[in-house]
Symmetry: C2
Subunit: 237 residues, 2 copies
């Protein structure tokens, strides 16, 4: 079954390995019959700063409470065109892919700003819409990243923080929170330090990874029924 992929791409150099990965994903997914949209944030000049610029409406001109303005904009069709366009792509897709280089053990600011601005209260989350009742239920999401260091440096009890910890704010905090099931991350370890032959192998592995997971369900978001209010601690039955 043909799928709709939305790749949010966050690298400033088109000739980078990140650029090669997104071009490869576009080519191979399209060749396999899927549809792909790419938001190339640097090329678009995407503005990552979240404030009143997100809106064409104003709920309270005296005090900027972002979530209130987001809910107001949701009700009054008041999102700025750059944000509304990203929301439409998010609603359209079956699979969301974040493509980025790991900068300071997390996503680059331009991608963080996409998260801060596009994932707005009202339109995307809130009012009971989160995790197993989230916007992304029925959709899947995936990290595709490059790192500076080799895999061995991101393990438990190493100098650097472990990768499983670094993925939590993205895979749990962004994907699961919003209802997306999480496909296995693809990590191009130390991409800049290999040879061209190494990089061709990695590109082949990335294309194979994408195609291998067209039909896999991914890890579903936490089930709200297992985490009752008020404190949302896991039920011990």
């Amino acid at each position: 079954m043909p799928l709709k992929y939305f790749i949010v791409h966050a690298h400033h150099e088109p000739a980078s390995f990140n650029g090669a990965m997104t071009r490869r994903a576009l080519a191979d997914l399209t060749a396999a019959g899927h549809e792909v949209k790419v938001s190339d944030l640097y090329t678009m000049g995407f503005d990552p700063v979240s404030d009143r610029r997100n809106f064409t409406t104003v709920a309270n001109p005296a005090f900027l409470k972002q979530q209130n303005e987001e809910r107001h904009a949701t009700e009054h069709n008041g999102f700025a065109p750059d944000i509304a366009a990203e929301m439409d792509k998010l609603a359209w897709c079956d699979v969301l892919v974040f493509q980025f280089p790991l900068w300071w053990f997390s996503i680059p600011a331009i991608l963080k700003g996409w998260v801060d601005r596009v994932l707005a209260a009202g339109r995307i989350y809130g009012g009971g819409k989160w995790y197993s009742n989230g916007f992304g239920v029925g959709k899947r999401a995936m990290v595709s990243m490059t790192t500076g260091g080799p895999e061995a440096m991101y393990r438990q009890d190493c100098l650097e923080p472990p990768m499983e910890t670094l993925l939590v704010p993205i895979e749990h905090g962004v994907f699961w929170f919003n209802g997306f099931s999480v496909l296995p991350a693809f990590i191009a370890w130390s991409a800049a330090h290999g040879t061209d032959a190494d990089r061709h192998v990695t590109l082949d592995r990335y294309a194979a990874h994408l195609l291998a997971h067209t039909g896999t369900p991914g890890r579903p978001p936490l089930n709200l029924a297992d985490y009752p209010p008020p404190n949302f601690a896991r039920k011990t039955t």
Copy 2:
């Protein structure tokens, strides 16, 4: 002994609780004889997008490899004025404070961009300069944040990711990596949902927290001698 504090402040609403926290820190630390500089990123119009705009110099016009450009700029005094000014404040300070609202389980994009752009290879890290040999050795750093949810929601086995995990990319990945010792984080849980009286109590607690830790050493960065190359795994002796 008087100390030099550098608060990097990342909130879009001056009348927010984050704003009140930074004003209180400025007032009480100054009253106690310390010096304080604040980079109020929204008010400054700080640009969080990292690319060639960071530099007045160019090492390679054909291919943007950020760390190479950073090392080149370090050697040729080639950082853009907005970045150079932040580097100078970082060098000046004894204690670095990140003041922010937790957005999507991490720092707002405008602060992530400060990290991405200011903490440049060559000038700040690299060439053996990291962790116990880092730029920040002898300095301390501290998180001061507000959250949307109450403390009970950020524990292990809750719906939301645990706070100790969310702090890793900042306290380990940014502070420790660059040699800073880490002071205990101050977390204003669910600041927006309390009463004015609650918020006054929290501001008093924040001021007391800052003053209680003027003389405490903090948790020192990992010792490079315990994590030998090539894989930097902890020695088991």
